[in-house]
């Protein structure tokens, strides 16, 4: 049974995402909407992380450390300038995709297990993960033209 492996992967991913949103909030506090929204979305991921932990305990203690590497690769070095904002949002979006895919995989297992609790947890968290991605994408689309064409 490899479900515990994936739950560990998901738990780690949500944790990384929590920290990444927090990092971007702090790093771009001159952009008030970024600061506030990233704090909010960080709180969402923190809540998801808490929910996943219950299932990790239920199914196993086994965990994966893969996503921590992912974060290190994504947020390679501190960035400034408006390109930095775009790149940071870009990396956040990639991290959210990682989380979303984990949820999809887990949901398949939850259906097979007929684990109603896990299914409900998926429904709640996955919907919000989708909204995190949608917000990031809309903000990226807003920032992209000015950053690529005009900003120095």
């Amino acid at each position: 049974m490899h479900l515990p492996y994936y739950l560990g992967l998901l738990e780690n991913s949500e944790k990384q995402l929590t920290e990444a949103f927090e990092y971007v909030a702090n790093h771009h506090h001159d952009e008030p909407d970024i600061e506030q929204m990233c704090q909010k979305l960080s709180a969402w991921s923190r809540e998801h992380h808490g929910k996943v932990q219950g299932f990790v305990e239920k199914y196993s203690e086994e965990k994966s450390n893969e996503p921590s590497k992912l974060k290190r690769d994504l947020f390679a070095e501190p960035r400034s300038s408006s390109l930095a904002l775009l790149r940071d949002l870009h990396d956040l979006w990639l991290l959210v995709q990682e989380v979303q895919l984990c949820w999809v995989v887990i949901q398949q297992a939850a259906l097979g297990l007929r684990d109603e609790e896990l299914k409900a947890c998926y429904a709640f968290c996955s919907a919000r993960t989708k909204r995190q991605a949608e917000w990031l994408l809309s903000r990226i689309k807003q920032a992209a033209p000015q950053t690529l064409l005009v900003a120095e």
Partner: protein, 767 residues
Amino acid sequence: MIQTRDSIQDIWGPRLGYEGQWSVRVDERLEVEPDHWVQSACVLCSNGCGVDIGVKEGRIVGVRGRAVDSVNHGRLGPKGLNGWVANNSPDRLTKPLIRRNGQLEEATWDEAMNLIVQKSKELIEKHTSSSIGFYTSGQLFLEEYYALGIVGKAGLGTPHMDGNTRLCTATAAAALKESFGSDGQPGSYSDLDTTEAILHVGHNIASQQTVLWMRVLDRLAGPNPPKLVVIDPRATYTAEKATVHLAPRVGTNVPVMNGLLHLIIEAGHINQEYIDAHTIGFEELKQVVAKWTPERVEQLTGVPAAKLREAAHILGTCNTLVSTALQGVYQSMQATAAAVQVNNLHLLRGLIGHDGSGIYQMNGQPTAQNTRECGADGDLPGFRNWSNEKHIQELADLWNVHPDQIPHWAPPTHAMQIWRYCEQGSIKMLWISATNPLVSMPDLDRARKILAKDDLFVVVQDAFPTETTALADVVLPAAIWGEKTGCFTNVGRTVHISHKAVDPPGKARSDFDIFVDYSRRMDFRDKDGKPLLTSTWQTTEDGFNAWRECTRGRPCDYTGLSYAKLTGGSGIQWPCNEQYPDGKKHLYENGVFSTDVDYCEDYGHDLETGTPRSQDDYKLLDPKGKAFLKGIDYEPPHEKPDAQYPLWLTTGRVVFHFHTRTKTGRSRELQEAAPDAYVQLSTEDAAHYGIVEGDMIEVKSRRGKVQEPARVGDIEPGLIFVPFHYGYWDQDDRPRAVNELTLTEWDPISKQPHFKYAAVRIRKVNA
């Protein structure tokens, strides 16, 4: 001075109680008897009262209300009766100014415009037109906004256009789009004549729309007075007249509204048939508000459960209801989400689209509606949808340009983001018209630093020297109300014409002429090489006629209106077309809303994150003319009092002044009636800090400080209030503009900044 009443001493005049039809009372104030009268409407609040301008020997000598006008029936408020004096003010700007060697020096129009054009062309060449931004007003005329909209969107093709309406009414538009698919107020002022109940949320109507308040007062004095529910943290003039006054803590509008909706649903006071036939989202909304029991609302907002129940009973059992919302909602936490709850109330009860029932998502400024309609702000002309390719194509056809010339690749840049791009240096030219951001923007210190930047070229177009013109690189002297012809539309969709009464002073030109001249000098052309605007736009009437075509088939249909039709009688409501030649009192009479996927102005947003919904997602919802019910839970404000800054600050307007006091501050009567700002605090807090009335108080936030004299009483402990009109042009000996203290942050959907809360501390400066 000849006057029918002293509106400074007696703001609303004598009562004439009525039922069914509001009577006529012509208010008048004159220096001398005029030679002749010229038809206009008042521009000193969003009510848009019909007014005649008295002219003697080429000079404005007074005003009188227009008895025939459906909006005011002849009445005028203190601003309308006294504000016109500013036109004759000796410190009007009369010549263009150019900054040379650090000083603003007089220049010719050719010099000033050529400089702007040269700068524009250089920037476009080096950095694309996205390096140019426009920040306009809620105070131009319709034709001027439309000219500006075309110049910016079809001429330059910059996505960076917005108005100060972003600070004041962006949420009104956002909430209407979110619920009904399009901007446009559903009701009519005449609904006040018959309604059984009125709800004012965060709207001190007695001070802000004095003539509309006269209408309410006259109903209250009549034989069958409406019940009045007022939601406001302060004991305002409006709250004094309330049947039930709910005074929530700042930033808690959503829980209060959720509590009211919950009680109304629970009591079965909803119109289930209407909900089923005409709305989407009821079950989700019900689920969200169900958590908001009166006890929970009381705990969080401070509104006693019994009072909430009393209010819910009135709002749940009335057969007709008029609701209004303004800055207490729009400039506070969860602005759009809270405003949408007011719409929800009417949808749940089916109280929309008929006599006596209307929603007013109010405007703070007189022609804010036109900025939104004409596309001089973030919206597209004619309430078109920026993410609907067909709508972009319609505009491209109308202007004969390639659709990609019109920026629509992302949501239009909102004002706060425009300022941020200026701060970062990617916008290098900012053209400000008819507004004074260095008093009205939040976090003024930051705004001042932005305008003072060496690498930002600032053009300011105004009638008076202001805090903002002082930092401009070019100042263009503008003609104002009374000195030019044009139309504007009030909150009630009523379109008025304002005819030119006198010549502008010196070399001042109308905003219309300035924008058309810029287009000519920039040599903007359409696909066939014909000049944009200048070949066909000689007069403002040409602009109006072009605008009519732009509105054809859209919710704000002006095709039945003309200068001739608007002249002589009352203002007329849109839509006005073949089907409704005299205009239309109510939108959505048949319960069909503007939400069809091909028709709607907006696909809606995630209420929590503000993410715009995509066209594909909207197609899945397929509302087909149904309105949206959307709920949301409470979110706490981002800055709250703590040990260091223990008090809440809230801000607002006073009755005698309007928009940074550029005009009203130049009327002796209005200036003397309210010459200075103040800090209002509760008797409890005054005692705690050892403060008495008139003491000079320093108020400090994390962003800045002001000093204001104390005014004690009529406010909850823990909260202080400072009016936000005051700046420095007439008094620069101490910091007194309250926006030195307010936050740079905004609502995720409407992008309207939060002026209604900040954490502050106070201390007495001297006795």
